[in-house]
Amino acid sequence: MAEPRTRAQAQQRADRLRVFQEELARLEAEDALHLTSQQRERLNSHVDTTMRGLARDFDIDTTESQRQVSWGMRIAATAGALALCAAVVSFFYRYWGLLATEVQVGLLAVTPIACAAGAEFAARRERTLYFTGLISVVALGAFVLNVSVMGLIFNLVPTPGAPLAWGAFAMFLAYRYGLRLLLLAGIGFGMAFVGAMLTLAAGYFWPQMIELPETLLIAGLLSMGLPWVVPHRKRADFPFVYLMAGLLVAFLAVLVLSTVGENSLLPFGDKTTEPIYQVLGQAGTALAVWLGVRKGLPGVVNMGALFFILFLYARFVDWWWDWMPKYLFFLIIAGVSIGLLLVFRALRGRMTGAT
């Protein structure tokens, strides 16, 4: 088996070893397995050496307590990063009106560069990358502030170049340090850029992409397909983020189009467009559940199931909410939910049988 190359891979290996040791102890207690003292000594020595090596090279969690503390650190780092971003933006807005334009421009450009340098400095001194992640988020926030305030200062007409630049900045940090939060931001800006360009191509003002969900549907599909075109051998956990972000945006776009067909770019009336997207949404979510089960992707199964139910309930509201007594409406919803529960239970049973 290949040696782990990333912290995530190292953590997975350590987790497997820990579970293996726990199960081994239980099997011995149940008299199902007996190792000789020599075998036991060799095994313990190997596991200890491997764990120490992984901890030394990747600073992974080797115990359950460490793992729980790490989660706390991750949450604290994310909250801290967002709060620090808010502090930088608020500080700038509080004092920028007192500065000459040249000083404003200089400060706006220097701040993201200084933060990016800070992130690089931190990355060279820590293996867990908590502080690197925190400073990287602040750097991205400073760059977003930089470009948006430049637009304000000079009354510039907004261009799709802004989300493109933000996306490139976030992606660079994400791939350099392996930061999934920055990757998510980068994908978001990337999808906004694609949506903006498609909106422009359709003859609209690019911020109107929110009003034209098909542009975001295409952006979501591109995000889902990208990991298949660009292999991620070094960042093995990244394709999942592309897939989930793309799936979320695509399903949201179809959900909006299935309800507000007027906003479609398709050359049909809303009476034709809405049913098209209703069928597409229901079939797409069912397909996501099926594919997720086949490929062993629980995130895709959950997302598919959630949107399957949302599409279904949206139709019920359309058909019945206005005229049906509310108790009957909710009774039907409850009945359908129980029906879905039975379907999922049968599906689960079949999967167990297959296993």
């Binding site: 920028w96 009106g97 706006l108 060279r124 940090l173 609209y204 109107q208």
Partner: protein, 237 residues
């Protein structure tokens, strides 16, 4: 760990984005401005007293249905909407279409509106300043067409806008109408020293007295992006 050389791509990206913006500004402001127009506090409302934001900006106010619901841009009829390519065939939530619009300052369109809808204050001349005299009088798919139609660069300001269509029930008939829902930009930054002057006039204003009056000289560049050239106080009549 990767080397510092590859990290340099990051500051290069930041500098490139800023250089791009500055070159765009230089191009917009180079040569003769596309228009130089003098407006007042009625058209450019200053937002000053903000505790968390020390920046000063002018909000663009124009006479339109967004601000004055009874106002109708009569010229934006079905034929004009078709000419502009505004989608009208379907329901009311259809997205608007980006176009170029001509804003007329203190011209026949505003005088005509005031004659038809004289407010009570009009009895006390001069005509009150609480209403903007800036009126959208025309729209086209390109700015050059509008400039040819309205060559007076001190009265007509060509800018970008968003035109939407909606249906109105008039007696037994459903009639389609257009309206300008947004102008881009509708917020104009006020740099130093004028931002400080505006703050100072506001500070010196006796409590209870009306807000200070001022005149703003605004230039509009080749990319239709405006900038403040001068702000000076004006005594209240």
């Amino acid at each position: 760990m990767k080397n510092w050389r590859s990290w340099l791509a990051l500051p290069a990206l930041v500098l490139l984005a800023n250089a791009w913006a500055l070159v765009s500004v230089a191009r917009n402001r180079s040569g003769e401005p596309g228009a130089v127009i003098e407006l007042t506090d009625a058209e450019l409302r200053a937002e000053l007293a903000r505790e968390e934001n020390s920046g000063v900006a002018f909000h663009l106010e124009w006479l339109g249905p967004a601000r004055w619901p009874s106002y109708r841009e009569e010229w934006l009829d079905a034929a004009k909407l078709a000419e502009l390519g505004v989608p009208t065939a379907r329901g009311q939530q259809r997205p608007g279409k980006p176009v170029f619009v001509a804003l007329e300052y203190d011209g026949p369109a505003w005088k005509d509106w005031m004659e038809k809808h004289p407010p009570e204050e009009v009895k006390d001349p001069p005509i009150p300043r609480s209403r903007s005299r800036l009126v959208v009088v025309d729209a086209a798919r390109d700015a050059a067409t509008l400039r040819r139609r309205y060559p007076d660069r001190s009265r007509y300001w060509i800018t970008r806008g968003l035109v939407r269509a909606h249906y109105e029930q008039e007696k037994e008939q459903r009639r389609i109408r257009g309206y300008v829902s947004m102008l881009v930009p509708d917020l104009i930054h006020v740099p130093l020293p004028w931002s400080e002057h505006l703050r100072e006039w506001e500070r010196k204003r006796p409590s209870g007295s009306p807000s200070p009056r001022y005149r703003v000289r605004l230039a509009v560049g080749h990319n239709l992006e405006p900038w403040v050239v001068d702000v000076r106080p004006e005594s209240r009549p």
